[in-house]
């Protein structure tokens, strides 16, 4: 069952990837969808087995790399944390697979698309089931590859190619940290296997890493390096610029990879290393600060964007920020809880947006939408559910998880926990605001689309709506249903040893005892955000432009995404190219070749001409040169034998 769950997507990927052309689109779609559904069913069964019966296990597959003391295996670690991730991945992936059959019906390369989706699912499963850092890295890079392939799926578009490259390279910057983290772990622990690392953390709390003459606390360094990797994959501030551009990919891809699963890999990584982070409080502080800031800044950007997918993308980034500051205050369970609920409602929102885009003949700009709700009512209702969950309205999934995170941050009682709490509260307000801004601009008011587009507006086929309903179920019920297990009374039994929290850091416990105003503030913020959006965009549509004028500098800052792209372009892209040109023309061509081969050849040319002049043709000249040479050589030999020089 474990093997079926993990390897079915690989088998379907290889089969469809190799024979997709010959078996045809229909068969390819059927095989990949069937494969992922099988995998999802197995995952649910594993959930029963592992969590309800506390039956975690590690399965050995094969050896991988054995070099001296460095020994790594291919193996599957099926524990509570893994199983939660597996369920999220396979269920969302199954929905996206089925949805894609409808969404990509006009595309030519259906088989290739489905194969890539399966490849992604396999890589993601490898990531979460790994029992050592190297296999995790394999999955980590594998999902990066699938993301690269899928963002650039429409590879005739220059913008798609640029976006896919950017995603890969920015992620590589994160991988740089992760790779160094793995090496540091090997240096300190002598192993990269999770069990070995986690068992020995306490023995290494005093270790230091020497770097450039300074000594650093080893566990903190490791924690920060791993976090750099997590930042890249989970689009945290600084390494986030690829995520909005990644929206160049087809919408199902955005839903699966760039909202529900891959971008949460960083959260998973930190949660997986909770036994280590617990002993690296400074690293956790950085995680909290980065998470809180990301939640806030991404929300400000989301308020000003007009591309429907970009709004949701920045929203994703903001929600990931929530998860990270939850991790930072040791509320790992709360982070995982939000990861799961978010996967459902964000995938729902994305696929809903895809349904809108599909209806609007591939229009993504909300300024050209409006008045859609009577024409695509089912999508409209489903988007409402997703929106309510995202805004954190009671009874919907997002309410439970987001509140839990904010309460934990408050209950941490540190200055950075406090900071994250207020950043989160502000972001919660903005979240509700931009979500309803999106809803109103898209579905209400008069239609602003061209007539020919308006004529073609249609509700999506059943094969697209059905997966949306499955996700909507998750967006409604997953919060209330799993509350107890993830963060409530049953959490110790639920997680067993897969998450590790020191007793003094147990913020989730404290979160149950925070003041009443802390508990109700997020809800107040959410409702007022929604209300403000109605005022701004439905009742008084002149207000946005007035505010835009008053807060011109702020609006510009938010609208241009805090100028990250521009700054990076100047600092990194242009510098790298400039240095490359410099090294090539000045270094290689002028300096090395100039002094080296080319210089030598011109030198020898000149010497040759001189020598040519010396060839006078007179015998005694030659004889003279010969005699002098012989004398010189002989004297050198004598000097040597007498031990004179050498």
């Amino acid at each position: 069952m474990d093997y079926i769950a993990v390897f079915t997507p690989l088998v379907t990927f290889l089969f469809v990837g190799l024979f997709g052309k010959s078996i045809g689109d229909k068969a390819s779609q059927f095989i990949t969808c069937a494969g992922i559904i099988v995998s999802a069913v197995c995952s649910v069964m594993l959930f029963n087995d592992v969590i309800l019966h506390a039956n975690s296990r590690i399965l050995f597959l094969s050896s991988w790399i054995d070099v001296g003391t460095f020994s790594v295996e291919w193996s599957l670690r099926i524990d509570q944390l893994t199983v939660v991730m597996m369920n999220v991945i396979t269920i969302v992936s199954a929905c996206v697979h089925v949805y894609s059959v409808g969404y990509m019906s006009h595309d030519k390369a259906k088989a290739r698309f489905m194969a890539y989706l399966s490849l992604f699912t396999f890589a993601m499963l490898m990531l979460v089931t790994s029992d050592n850092l190297l296999q995790l890295f394999f999955g980590w890079e594998g999902v990066g590859l699938a993301s690269y392939l899928l963002i650039g799926f429409w590879n005739h578009k220059e913008s798609a190619n640029a976006a896919s490259m950017k995603a890969f390279i920015v992620n590589r910057v994160g991988d740089f940290g992760l790779a160094l983290g793995i090496m540091a772990i090997f240096m300190i622990f002598g192993s990269v296997n999770f069990s070995t690392i986690f068992e020995n953390v306490q023995a290494h709390t005093g270790d230091v890493i020497k770097f450039l003459g300074h000594e650093f606390h080893a566990l903190t360094v490791i924690g920060l390096l791993l976090f750099i990797g997590a930042m890249g994959k989970s689009a945290q501030l600084g390494l986030h610029t690829w995520l909005p551009d990644a929206m160049e990919g087809p919408t199902p891809v955005s839903a699966l990879i760039h909202a529900a699963t891959m971008v949460t890999a960083g959260v998973f990584l930190v949660a997986r290393f909770s036994p280590l982070y617990e002993y690296a409080p400074d690293a956790l502080m950085v995680v909290t600060l980065v998470g809180g800031t990301t939640a806030l800044i991404a929300a400000t950007i989301a308020m000003t964007q007009f591309d429907i997918k970009r709004v949701i993308a920045y929203s994703t980034m903001s929600q990931l920020g929530y998860m990270f500051f939850a991790l930072g205050v040791s509320a790992y369970g709360a982070a995982m809880f939000h990861l799961m609920t978010h996967a459902f409602f964000k995938a729902l929102l994305f696929l809903g947006a895809g349904s809108v885009i599909h209806a609007m003949s591939d229009e993504q700009d909300m300024r050209n939408m409006g008045g859609l709700w009577t024409k695509i009512p089912v999508t409209y209702c489903l988007m409402w559910i997703g929106g309510l969950a995202l805004a954190g309205i009671p009874l919907f999934a997002g309410y439970y998880s987001k509140d839990m995170i904010l309460e934990s941050a408050y209950a941490d009682h540190t200055w950075f926990g406090e900071y994250a709490f207020w950043a989160g509260i502000a972001a919660a307000f903005m979240t509700a605001f931009y979500t309803w801004r999106l809803m109103i601009l898209t579905f209400h008011g008069k239609s602003r689309a061209p007539i020919e587009v308006q004529k073609k507006i249609h509700e999506s086929p059943k094969i697209m709506l059905f997966p949306l309903m499955v996700l909507a179920m998750g967006a409604v019920f997953s919060g209330a249903y799993f509350y107890d297990g993830f963060v409530g009374e049953g959490r110790t039994h639920f997680w067993e040893s897969s998450l590790h929290v020191l007793p003094e850091n147990d913020t989730i416990e404290n979160a149950h005892h925070v003041p009443e105003w802390v508990k109700s503030l997020p809800l107040v913020m959410g409702v007022s955000g929604i209300a403000l959006a109605y005022v701004f965009y439905l009742f008084f549509p002149v207000l946005p432009s007035i505010f835009r004028k008053i807060f011109m500098p702020f609006h510009l800052l938010f609208y241009r995404k805090w100028f990250f792209d521009e700054i990076y372009n100047v600092f990194f892209v242009k510098t790298a190219r400039g240095l490359g040109k410099l090294f090539w023309k000045r270094g290689d061509k002028a300096l090395i070749d100039g002094l080296g081969p080319d210089g030598l050849s011109s030198l020898s040319h000149r010497i040759g001409r001189r020598l040519g002049q010396m060839q006078t043709g007179f015998i005694y000249h030659y004889a003279f040169v010969m005699v002098v040479s012989v004398v010189g050589l002989l004297s050198w030999v004598f000097l040597r034998t007498n031990g004179g020089i050498l």
Binding site: D66, F70, D175, M183, A576, F583, G587
Partner: protein, 503 residues
């Protein structure tokens, strides 16, 4: 079976092929046709022998196996001495594997002087395999330098427009290096009184002499590697060489430098090695960053791959000179992996070059439309070059960095930036050539890879993946020999510090 001189057969079988090539008679067409078949047959037979060697090789034995020794010049004490150990084994197999690939790759693209071309390649094969098998330092030198002659001809005769310049540049660089090395080998011979490599390893010379000899050998190996700043011959040589020339150059010739370090510099001059480690680190890190940046701005596909090769070789030298188990293993593995990946990448360039006759990236674009199979193969190789886990490129690169990290974190950190830069230039190459929309009308008419091209690319691609998933196949065979090397090195260093303490 044991009586068969397997190693000598490996070395000299190609020359027998050459003999047959010389005997071919007939018109221009007949000669060309027969020459191709004869060369292919010969090289395949050599490959078969190499595979036999691989099968019969005892992985647990760290010493030399299949040793053959005959006196060569008794008066001078020189002998014909061959043997194979874990370090050289896979280089031999790699050479034997890439030669038939090269011959197949030149099947249609070489139209003039086919017989001479094939002779050059078979002679080259003899010298390459000989270099890796020789256990006598002068025999090694003969093979090592001999390689230069056919390579010089391949570039100089069958190369591109500026072939003469490139060929001479290659010759000048390598010759300068090897002259110095010859002096070093002579000095060693006079000092120790033997030219046998195992004996030379067993009897190290004094510390001061080691320094000079190390530098002399370094000059030669660093050029071959090539290390910064003596790398500028490589891009030119690659650009002008015919496809098969590039393949063998990147696939095997560059590995001779690394092999030289492992066979000569480190075991014979351990104290000097220890002394010069920071120097090698510095050059390697510069190579990785500098050449990756240069690769980023190239317009010529071959130049880009050539420059990124220099960066990859930087990881090799870093790994080897970290003198840790992981580093040494990673260095050797990276060489073999790079031998496969870069060879295959040059073949990929050759495939499109044969169709469009330009290596300028801007002339391509959007060829994924017509050449989906090619795009897939190229993609896997590109990812291998980038070092994606699951391909062989990752294992070598990661192990090498892991080794360095244990000795010097700062160096490892700088080198790891090469991972980002390397990804950038390979992705750029792929994007500009394969993706995008078709701008060049000639590119529209390009056909996908044919059966012959698939036959040579597919095994390489499969090996890249197989070695990425099960690298232990190589690691377990190279392990004992490298461990022995490491122990020998540490014993020498330790002996030295031990005597220091006594004084």
């Amino acid at each position: 079976m044991m009586d068969m001189p397997l190693l000598s057969l490996l070395v000299f079988l190609p020359l027998i092929g050459v003999l047959f090539l010389c005997l071919i008679k007939g018109g221009q067409e007949t000669i060309a046709k027969n020459a191709r078949h004869t060369a292919l047959f010969t090289s395949l037979f050599v490959l078969l022998l190499a595979l036999m060697l691989l099968v019969q090789f005892d992985p647990s034995d760290a010493g030399f196996q299949f040793v053959e020794q005959l006196t060569w010049m008794p008066s001078l004490g020189l002998s014909y001495h061959l043997g194979v150990d874990g370090i050289s084994l896979f280089f031999v197999v790699l050479s034997a594997f890439l030669t038939p690939v090269c011959i197949l790759a030149s099947w249609t693209s070489i139209k003039t002087r086919v017989r001479e071309y094939m002779i050059a390649f078979l002679v080259l094969e003899t010298f390459m395999i000989g270099t890796f098998l020789a256990l006598d330092s002068f025999l090694f030198y003969v093979f090592f330098e001999g390689v230069l002659i056919p390579m010089f001809l391949i570039i100089g005769v069958w190369g591109g427009e500026r072939r003469v310049y490139s060929a001479f540049k290659l010759f000048l660089y390598t010759l300068l290096g090897s002259v110095v090395m010859l002096i070093a080998l002579l000095t060693l011979y006079f000092q120790v009184g033997t030219s046998s490599i195992p004996e030379l390893i067993a009897s190290p010379v004094g510390r001061d002499l080691q320094m000079w000899l190390w530098l002399a050998c370094f000059a030669s190996f660093a050029v071959k590697m090539p290390m910064w700043p003596v790398h500028t011959w490589l891009p030119d040589a690659h650009v002008e060489a015919p496809t098969a020339g590039s393949v063998i150059l990147a696939g095997v010739l560059l590995k001779m430098g690394g092999y030289g370090f492992l066979r000569f510099s480190i075991p014979m001059f351990p104290e000097a090695t220890e002394y010069f480690i920071p120097f090698v680190y510095a050059l390697s890190v510069i190579a990785i960053i500098y050449t990756s940046l240069v690769a980023l701005v190239q317009e010529d596909m071959k130049k880009l791959i050539a420059y990124s090769s220099v960066a990859h070789m930087g990881f090799v030298t870093l790994g080897i000179f970290s003198m840790t188990t992981q580093g040494l293993q990673g260095g050797v593995f990276q060489m073999i992996s790079h031998g496969l990946i870069s060879a295959a990448l040059f073949l990929c360039v050759g495939v499109v070059y044969d169709r469009l006759h330009t290596r300028e990236m801007s002339k391509y674009g959007g060829i994924v439309k017509n050449m989906p199979r090619y795009a897939t193969l190229f993609m896997i190789l590109m990812l291998g070059s980038v070092g994606l886990p699951g391909t062989s490129g990752f294992v070598g690169e990661f192990l090498a960095l892991l080794g360095v990290f244990q000795t010097n974190i700062f160096v490892a950190m700088c080198a790891t930036t090469g991972v980002v830069l390397g990804a950038a230039c390979m992705l750029l190459l792929y994007r500009r050539v394969v993706f995008g929309s078709i701008t060049n009308n000639d590119a529209r008419a390009m056909k996908d890879v044919n059966k012959r091209e698939l036959l040579i690319l597919l095994p390489l691609v499969l090996m890249v993946i197989a070695l990425g998933v099960k690298p232990n196949f190589i690691l377990s065979r190279t392990g004992p020999a490298l461990e022995k090397l490491q122990l020998h090195y540490e014993a020498q260093i330790y002996k030295d510090t031990g005597s220091y303490n006594n004084e």
